[in-house]
Subunit: 334 residues, 2 copies
């Protein structure tokens, strides 16, 4: 009896491990940190802040300008355009499903959505505000924000900490479930084509899903090296190594060319690809990844199969209402 | 008997004239031209196009960037920022209730919303597209637009004409009824404060509503001269005459400094004021208008009353859903 019970337990364990390491559907709810529970009013406030261009020095750039919630969560540009037409060296990552990233930014320098949200606002080439004190001072002139912050956080609550908490809470709702892939792994075997299933299995066999794993295909762990292999032709064409990734922040040689593993979710919508937006098409990106990370040349058929599979990861975008941003009578930006 | 009937008719005529020239609430539906009836699907397509930054050369500027539907229908800037951080000389007029303008643009050079919508897209400092042929070519690469245009206009229907028709149809739905003023003139005498009613009557007595007339306070007729009177101090400070208005287009001396009468609707939300955005506050704008148009100095109390009245013209903004913009796999903007 004891032996049988042990065996049953062992089998259950094996089965649960095998499920955990297998293909997973995207959760429909993202976990929130203990100090920033997701509430409806906080999400609504975060949505307002996220779409408000008055969080930029010129009043022209909101979070959504580069991480566009009406599109695939970014701007389809190699690098984004911030205040006064300035551009940087990296491509905007999608905001959709970013709640499932272990770390944020391409170089993973932010440990949470809250920490990430604080960055672009005071980046001189992104939203260009001089300081968060200036942001807070501006928000305090907007009566509607006073009311909204008070409802969510209590009296006199307009602060950097609360603004970034609200934005992060909103971002945790930006989830795109029910892609053909999700339907397939949830039991609807007609949701993927034969080619897409072939591509899915091939991605695993080749080793793509060693890094692009889990329900959001964005990794176990936090960082991976890119590129792994050297290739003079690609180096000359794409300049991937011009940017040192995490080492740009930490200055540690061990962090050189270490990057967050970007999600595959909605990847068909987020061209161009890579941290510097150097690859214009998904075909190009997959070819490069096979060569630079796995040292493999894909056949034409293999490439088509994997790209077909990646196209099955486009999810359902939730219907959102537009925020009605609170007005500032007599405010101008110049 | 005949005399009595005539008298009744005459009285009815007088009464109808007096109603027509009296205070009017904002209509909740805007009239559409015969060749562009407003339909639900067309409005939905127009909303997509209106919010799509891919209608600009850089993929960063949509109609809504400068005429923000989440704010007071513009950008609270003296002059808007187009592609690559460029700015022009005029302040973006609000899109809300623009369906009730007799003519469009500050200088009234467009006779319809349809004609207006074609302009900014190919203006080099606004949305910067080289030509509408380029816009149409780009839209044709976006599968979702092919489908949407076909549903509204029939097969192979992506064209400048149809795109601007759809945008105009959407704009005709951007109406903000039920302001305190509207409630007041519809019979709710508690909707305005005593001061606001004083300001309303004063605006009429002083002559403001001779030009700012009708339910949207934007006219009879199409153009008015601004400024009418000369004032060396204001000329030096605000440079209103640097821009010749309609004459910049027509090159006719008679059109110099002729402008569309801008609506008073939601004026409290649309600082800064005037064609060049030179006045930062409503107090300043009203003071200037009294002096430059009517040659009158307002007392402090008169000014406060009129501004209080203008604040009663902020309407109710309809709840809108965000459009989910159709994706272009593999498209980049640079």
């Amino acid at each position: 009896m004891f032996k049988i019970r042990l065996l049953v337990t062992a089998l259950a364990l094996v089965s649960s491990i095998s499920v955990a390491s297998a293909w997973e559907a995207l959760p429909t709810v993202a976990p929130a940190p203990a100090d920033n529970p997701t509430t409806e009013e906080k999400v609504e406030l975060g949505k307002m802040l996220y779409h408000d261009p008055r969080l930029s020095s010129t009043g022209t750039v909101s979070c959504s300008s580069c991480h566009n919630t009406m599109l695939g969560g970014e701007d389809n540009r190699p690098n984004s355009m911030g205040v006064n037409g300035q551009t940087g060296g990296r491509s905007a990552p999608t905001v959709w499903n970013s709640a499932f990233n272990a770390v944020q930014f391409w170089d993973g320098r932010a440990a949470s959505l809250e920490a990430q949200a604080a960055g672009p606002v005071t980046n001189p080439i992104e939203m260009g505000m001089k300081s968060w004190d200036d942001v807070v001072a501006r928000l305090k002139t907007i009566e509607g924000y006073k009311v909204a912050f008070e409802q969510v956080f209590g009296k006199d609550a307009i602060s950097k900490d609360n603004a970034t908490k609200a934005i992060a809470a909103y971002e945790r709702t930006l989830i795109t479930p029910n892609s053909p892939y999700d339907k397939y792994v949830s039991g609807d075997k007609s949701a993927l084509t034969v080619q897409q299933v072939r591509g899915m299995n091939l991605a695993q066999e080749l080793g793509c899903t060693a890094c692009h794993s889990g329900p959001a295909f964005n990794g176990p762990g936090m960082f991976q090296q890119f590129p792994v292999h050297s290739n003079a032709f690609y180096a000359a064409k794409y300049h991937f190594k011009d940017d040192k990734g995490l080492a740009e922040v930490t200055k540690k040689p061990a962090d050189e060319h270490m990057w967050k593993v970007p999600t595959w979710r909605n990847i068909a919508l987020t061209a161009p690809y890579f941290h510097n937006g150097a690859a214009k098409t998904l075909d190009e990106a997959v070819t490069i990844m096979a060569k630079m990370q796995l040292d493999k040349e894909l056949t034409k058929e293999q490439l088509a199969d994997i790209v077909a599979f990646l196209n099955s990861l486009t999810g359902q975008f939730p219907k959102q209402t537009m925020p009605v941003l609170p007005a500032t009578p007599g405010t101008t930006f110049n």
